[in-house]
């Protein structure tokens, strides 16, 4: 055995072979050089070695070597490897021999091999091996070799002296490690349950036990992983050995099952990711403790051995407090606040009589300002801290923070956004299919493409350039998202998260974005940005104002808040008084913009919150070009101007200006500002048409009626006729001869029959389709509802007109009469009472009463023709305004169609001709129930009413 060989053994077992071959090769080279030309031979030898290396027994060989080596260690002679020994080495050729011999040892049993080596030491072997070797390599004459041995060895030694460093440094390649993969002949790993928290202890105790018991225990190793609690692994050939070893161990649950680790998973057990953070200079970290907790800092120096790092951060120093302290003045014990980070200003410190020493750091040669033991440079504090007090994982410095770090030395390191930092912060699944990416590292740098597929750390991209494979697999770390100027993007993380804007420029992996809201330029990492058409501010409320509110500004202009930003509240608002304009108001807590403009030239201005006077909440109506009423939420179409053709619901109306929201409008958060006159309500008919709509119904129903408007299209149904009747009757009653159609309904007093406003009275302000807008008398509020929701409140007109008052007195006395004389008497009384009253009520106040008479006349069931019948209907009329409607539908219509009906039941059906036969009779037959009586008419009225509505 040569010493030289032993040296080689110090390399990893895998490398050792390699070494040898290299060795040999070189030896041969030398030999060749000396002997000048035996090229063929050399080649052949080489191949032989390659074969050898592939031979199955390589492991055995290693083991033999290992054993031998162990002995060396056992011997403990460190000096043995000294240069002196090397001198005494056997010749290079002997080394070959040995190599060959090892090869030939294939079949030797391990122990045997070990013994051999120990015993032989080297002397005998060579001869035997020489012979063999001659066989194998006839072309390499040994004698010649020996001649040059001395020289050769020197050369080699030199060579190795030079190159050994690099060779040692050479990382073991995966291939070499592959050779060590476990095979069936290797011991197995067994998983043994142990007490939680005692994993290491168990492993160490097993070691101790093995030492104590000597060879009794047949386990090879015990492994405690830091990340695996409750289990340790024991390496042994047999489970029985494991059990044996575990016997009597305090923290091992020997009774539990012992699991074998499949061969394939054995390497996983041992492949431990080094948990150490790769702290290197310029790494961004955050402080974990103290005043600076959470602060960003940059590593300037790392002392791995002492586990300390020097970081630079922006100092948080209260100079005043420091001065006080240094001068021995009282320093308040309690720290009420943490000084904000601020660069150290040495001059300022000096002014406060704080002693500043300028010192040179011996290690780096840099000058530092030393204040009270703290080191400053360029305003930064340089702090030496334990690695445990910093956190280096997942640090996401915001751009602002990075900017701050750059401030003092303006030209500063351009590494503000060093790639390493960037990549360290990426989350899993950073890239998604379809993302546009650019390669930022390696040969393909600057190649653009789109993501096709994402695997673990590999992203398959489809390059844009021609002549490349359709997809390329690229490491995630070499990729960066890529945007082009003009892209509309959204910031998805970082300080400006939520902001949207347009990409202005792209600088490497930084993009400059013009914010949609503030119009400011944001610098963000492309990693933090996604393409998006969304336009948002993130925040929708500020103070009392909400996004899209119509607000009045102090200069009496108004606008709609189109954006509220956390840092800037912007209102897109507009409008000089007389001019119509779009109001885009963006508000910032502190300040905001109002965009001013005229309809076609909208202006967005950034306004301060305090510049907003108030919210305009009043419901206002406007008229479109064809005089249709436009209300909020009506969909209108813009007929002129730059936004011609756009349409959308009206969000706000003010001073004849409509703020229309069009989803498809990209500017101003979709708001378009237009004069009402420049718009038309979508789906509305021409004004006249629309008016005729209701009229037509009326005219249909009451053909004889004199309706001023020409009949429109036949009413298509949908509304209960009674409803129309009621409404129309009310309207006609009031406005007869005046404006026609639905306009005629406007101003009609009305009562809400259902919903939250039930019972409220109001006036119709607008009629559109089947909906009515009613202004509440009490609150001046305008509510919208379907026809069905309202009653025509005839009586409401009474209080308005004053006719009510006289009526009441008459009505009150009526009741007593009514009860006793219900059947016979009520009729005339009611009749008598009502008719004049009615006339009185209507005639004096409206010019329409004359038409009414003819109308009554025209009705076959009118007063004259059926006095008996009258009693029923009149009471209802008396009590409730809508009754007329009821008459039309139930009383009126039958009357028209069936005079017989009118005649026949007259005595017994005075109050309710059609609606309530069951009830009326009963009340009619029980004259003795005065209590019930008043109700009858009342209920009759109600019932009649209900169909109305």
């Amino acid at each position: 055995m040569s010493h030289r060989r032993r040296d080689m053994d110090d390399l990893g077992p895998g490398e050792e072979e390699d070494e040898d071959y290299i060795d040999e090769e070189e030896d041969e080279e030398e030999a060749d050089a000396v002997r000048s030309g035996k090229a063929g031979g050399r080649k052949r030898q080489r191949s032989e070695f390659i074969d050898d290396s592939a031979a199955e027994d390589s492991e055995e060989e290693e083991e033999d070597d290992d054993d031998e080596d162990d002995e060396d260690y056992g011997g403990g002679g460190g000096g043995r490897r000294g240069g002196g020994h090397r001198k005494k080495k056997k010749t290079a050729s002997q080394f070959f021999d040995e190599e060959a011999q090892v090869d030939s040892d294939e079949d030797e049993d391990e122990e045997q091999g070990e013994d051999d080596f120990i015993v032989d030491g080297g002397a005998d072997l060579p001869d035997e091996e020489d012979a063999r070797r001659m066989h194998r390599r006839p072309l390499l004459p040994r004698e010649e070799d020996q001649e040059d041995v001395e020289e050769l060895e020197r050369t080699i030694q030199q060579r190795y002296a030079r190159s050994s460093h690099t060779e040692y440094d050479e990382e073991t390649t995966d291939v070499e490690q592959q050779a060590l993969l476990p095979s069936v002949r290797d011991p197995k790993l067994w998983m043994v349950k142990c007490a939680i928290g005692h994993e290491r202890e168990v492993a160490v105790c097993l070691m101790q036990k093995c030492i104590d018991k000597g060879t009794e225990l047949n386990i090879r190793s015990a492994i405690a992983l830091d990340h695996l609690k409750n289990y340790i692994y024991i390496e042994a050939d047999k489970e029985a050995h494991v059990r044996e070893a575990c016997k009597g161990m305090r923290n091992i649950y020997a009774s539990s099952k012992i699991l074998i680790v499949p061969i394939k998973e054995m390497t996983d057990v041992l492949s431990v990711e080094s948990k150490a953070i790769d702290l290197s200079r310029d790494t961004w970290i955050r402080m974990k403790t103290g005043n600076y907790k959470g602060d960003l800092a940059k590593v300037v120096d790392v002392d791995n051995v002492r586990q300390r790092v020097t970081v630079k951060l922006i100092p948080r120093i209260d100079l005043q407090a420091l001065a006080n302290k240094l001068e021995g003045r009282e320093v308040p014990k309690k720290k009420t606040f943490n000084p904000p980070p601020r660069f150290m200003n040495v001059d300022e410190a000096r002014e406060m009589h704080i002693r500043v020493e300028r010192r040179r750091d011996q290690m780096t040669g840099d000058y530092f300002e030393n204040i009270n033991g703290m080191m400053f440079k360029d305003g930064f504090l340089y702090k030496n801290v334990s690695m445990k007090s910093i956190s280096a994982q997942n640090i996401q410095p915001s751009f602002d923070e990075l900017e701050k770090f750059r401030q003092p030395n303006e030209n500063g390191d351009g590494d503000v956004a060093s790639l390493s930092t960037l990549f360290a912060n990426r989350k899993k699944g950073h890239f998604m299919k379809g993302d546009r990416v650019i390669i930022v590292k390696g040969d393909l740098k600057n190649l653009k493409g789109t993501v096709e597929k994402v695997e673990e750390d590999t992203v398959h991209i489809k390059p844009k350039a021609r002549g490349l494979p359709s997809t390329l697999a690229v490491s995630e770390k070499e990729l960066c998202k890529y945007f082009e100027p003009g892209n509309h993007v959204k910031v998805v993380s970082g300080a400006t998260e939520g902001a949207t804007g347009m990409v202005l420029t792209v600088e490497g992996h930084l993009v400059n974005i013009v914010s949609d809201t503030t119009k400011e330029v944001l610098r963000v990492f492309s990693d933090n940005v996604v393409e998006s058409s969304e336009v948002t501010s993130g925040i929708t409320r500020i103070g009392d104002y909400e996004l899209h509110d119509l607000v009045l500004l102090d200069n009496m202009s108004f606008g709609v808040i189109i954006r509220v930003e956390s840092e800037a509240f912007q209102v897109i608002s507009i409008i000089q008084l007389a001019r119509s304009a779009r109001v885009d108001v963006d508000c910032i807590p502190e300040f905001s913009f109002v965009l001013k403009g005229v309809p076609d030239r909208p202006e967005v201005a950034l306004v301060r919150l305090r510049e907003i006077k108030c919210k305009i909440e009043k419901k206002i109506f406007a008229q479109d070009r064809v005089k249709n009423t436009i209300a909020v939420k009506d969909v209108v179409k813009i007929l002129e101007g730059s936004c011609k053709g756009k349409q959308g619901p009206v969000e706000h109306i003010y001073r004849g200006i409509l703020f229309i929201y069009d989803r498809h409008h990209l500017e101003h958060a979709g708001f378009i500002c237009a004069k009402s006159q420049a718009c038309v309500v979508v789906g509305a008919r021409a004004n006249g048409d629309r008016n005729g709509h209701l009229v037509s119904r009326f005219s249909q129903l009451k053909s004889p009626a004199r309706v001023p408007q020409p009949p429109g299209k036949p009413h298509g149904g949908g509304l209960p006729i009674s409803v129309i009747n009621a409404l129309f009757a009310a309207a006609s009653g009031r406005n007869w001869g005046g404006r026609g159609g639905h306009d005629a309904l406007i101003g009609t007093p009305i009562k809400v029959r259902m919903g939250p406003y039930k019972g409220y009275k109001g006036r119709v302000v607008d009629v559109k389709g089947q909906t009515v807008r009613v202004e509440m008398d009490a609150s001046m509020k305008v509510v919208t509802g379907k026809f069905e929701a309202f009653l025509c409140a005839r009586d409401s007109s009474r209080y308005g007109s004053g006719s009510e008052t006289p009526m009441h007195p008459s009505r009150t006395p009526l009741h007593p009469y009514m009860t006793p004389m219900r059947d016979p008497g009520a009729t005339p009384i009611h009749d008598g009472m009502r008719t004049p009253m009615r006339d009185r009520a209507w005639n004096p106040y409206t010019p329409m009463s004359p038409p009414r008479d003819p109308w009554e006349d025209a009705n076959p069931a009118s007063w004259g023709s059926s006095p008996q019948y009258q009693p029923g209907s009149p009471p209802s009329r008396t009590y409730d305004a809508p009754t007329p409607g009821g008459n039309y539908s139930e009383a009126g219509t039958p009357r028209d169609s069936s005079p017989a009906y009118v005649n026949a039941p007259s005595p017994y059906l005075p109050s309710t001709p059609g609606g309530q036969p069951p009830m009326t009779p009963s009340s009619a037959y029980l004259p003795g129930t005065p209590g019930g009586q008043p109700m009858t008419p009342g209920s009759g009225g109600l019932d009649i009413m209900s169909p109305v509505v």
């Binding site: 083991e63 162990d70 460190g78 440094d169 290491r200 093995c210 090879r220 992983l225």
Partner: protein
């Protein structure tokens, strides 16, 4: 025990005072290193110069493997500690040996493999 080599010292505790030799990954307590050095790397002379203990060892390591029979243990071979004395080792250290000590290894003609950075 298949190997005749006398085992290294066994750690006397299992806590934070444990350190691992940066070259051979042997795990012992600081005191043990200081008193008797590293069995595999005597040339570091930790027992002679206590400063060396700090330089040559680290408290920052991952996992422990007690190798009873280095030559016949697959795990030891896989971890490339199969030629060291029996003892407690760590699976991985995270730091590299200081450069001057690496040079020392070179001078001593012993193998040093710096830890792989992940």
């Amino acid at each position: 025990m298949g190997s005749a080599a006398p085992p290294a010292q066994i750690p006397t505790s299992f806590g934070h005072e444990l350190r691992a030799c940066l070259r051979c990954r042997l795990v012992k307590t600081y005191d043990q290193f200081r008193e008797s050095g590293c069995e595999n790397c005597p040339f570091f002379k930790m027992d002679e110069d206590h400063e060396h203990v700090v330089d040559c060892t680290t408290p920052n390591f991952t996992g422990i493997i007690s190798v009873m029979d280095p030559s016949r243990s697959w795990a030891a071979r896989w971890l490339r500690i199969g030629k060291f004395v029996p003892g407690c080792y760590t699976l991985a250290v995270s730091e590299a040996l200081p450069e001057d000590l690496q040079n020392l290894c070179q001078d001593e003609r012993v193998m040093y493999i710096p830890p792989k950075r992940v």
